[in-house]
Symmetry: C2
Subunit: 269 residues, 2 copies
């Protein structure tokens, strides 16, 4: 089963478009947990057990695990092993390099870590993304519009009569890769619509809801494709809903809240 | 001592502008070595011992180590520990993400791995690079022009009367960070001159010589700044000079060859 099939099944089974980001920061663990790698695994396990019937996917942010050194890599693997087999996992690592290096990053993500999908950066061009796309059962999300203020520096540059992000989206669309979609930040509001209109059926991963205060309404409305699929990601607003012993319970409540908010918007489309 | 001071001293001590890339691929180890993580460390140690009086810096390509999993991270750390203290190490990881994640990547590179410098990707904007630059004793190389064919997809887009890569370079120059330089691929030939003319004193890291067949002449001529510094990187053409038991000896010969070739060009400037 490829990533897309796995995702569509998880969306259907849990009736959810919520992707939960396990951006676990050892410094932000609930105060009753020790600041150890073991605690990070325990924290992730509790969050996963409390939410696996509510989400359509999990996203693990590589940066948070790398910051812990080699043990972080082990925690990342252990976390993915805890996640039920039928729920897809996106490795959010925004990788980018020339093809010979990209091949190694693809191996790291898909073979060593065991993720179902990865996020990448488009700056090195289409040819540099091919080593990821060659893993046919896996899925590659190219970052088109990021959710941070710095997105305006270059992504919105006018190149001829189009923004840079439009040209990048068009180039990847014309490459015709079936197992490739886009990351579009929820903080970009209705600009998601521009990318959707270009993209037809492409699958979107939309971060920036919650702590980054992106608009959930436009994210869902323009994010969804004809297969009724999209990954609406929330990380900090759910996993750090409480810093006390009830963190998993409160994370579950928050996750249900977001799931229902998303579903309500879907009903109104 | 900051990265720049360390680099200038190593350049002076070894009379070299050659940066040696330790892109060690476990599959390409000399045939007498077993394909184990220990062999990768042994290989790197032999290469380092044979070249530490010839280079001005080492570059470690994160992708190759990540592809080995958690143990790759340990090998990366061990390799950096083997490198003599007075020779700077660039972690070539082309990282990119929003600032909260970039902060974690900076911690991974500079605190956990112990690199002196890092390569990053500009697509998320200047604000997303700040967490790296905040490590004042460290150095950040922003990739402006990559050495692969895919560079032409977006880096050479005309945005108004300039190429995208020029606009990106200008934006980072105007940000005024002292400990920030650029990656410019040697395969881009005289376009390196365009970036140099914009950049004044900025330090360049120039990959693409050797296996990628970039032009060493223009790389040195336009790469060098007023401090007479530049990192001319060669990886595969040196470390895989021989696949036999004489690999370290042959790597040394190749490194000397490149060092002298570079110095000859310098004399003619």
């Amino acid at each position: 089963m490829n990533f897309k099939e796995k995702l569509l099944r998880a969306i259907s089974k849990n009736n959810s478009l919520l992707c939960l980001g396990l951006d676990t920061d050892i410094e932000k663990l609930p105060s009753h947990l020790s600041k150890t790698p073991e605690s990070v695994i325990d924290f992730n396990r509790s969050i996963i057990e409390a939410t696996s019937d509510i989400v359509c996917a999990y996203k693990v942010n590589s940066a948070f695990y790398e910051s812990m050194g080699a043990v972080g890599f082990e925690i990342l693997k252990s976390t993915i092993e805890i996640i039920p087999d039928w729920i897809p996992v996106v490795l959010d690592s925004k990788r980018s390099d020339i093809a010979s290096s990209a091949r190694m990053y693809a191996k790291a993500a898909f073979v060593e870590i065991g993720a179902d999908a990865i996020t990448v950066n488009p700056y090195f061009g289409v040819e540099a993304i091919e080593p990821f796309v060659e893993f046919k059962n896996k899925f590659t999300f190219v970052t088109i519009l990021s959710s941070n203020p710095g997105a305006f520096d270059f992504q919105y540059l006018k190149c001829g009569d189009k923004f840079l992000f439009q040209i990048i989206a068009e180039k990847f669309i014309s490459a015709g890769f079936e197992n490739l979609g886009f990351v579009v930040g929820a903080t970009r509001g209705t600009d998601i619509k521009i990318v959707r209109e270009l993209s037809g059926e492409k699958l979107f991963l939309i971060p920036g809801i919650g702590a980054q205060a992106g608009e959930i309404e436009s994210a869902v409305r323009y994010g969804i494709n004809d297969e009724k699929a999209v990954l609406i990601n929330v990380s900090r607003a759910i996993i750090y809903a409480s810093s006390s012993t009830d963190f998993a319970e409160r994370a579950r409540e928050k996750a249900v809240e977001y799931k229902e908010k998303i579903n309500k918007i879907i009903e109104q489309i």
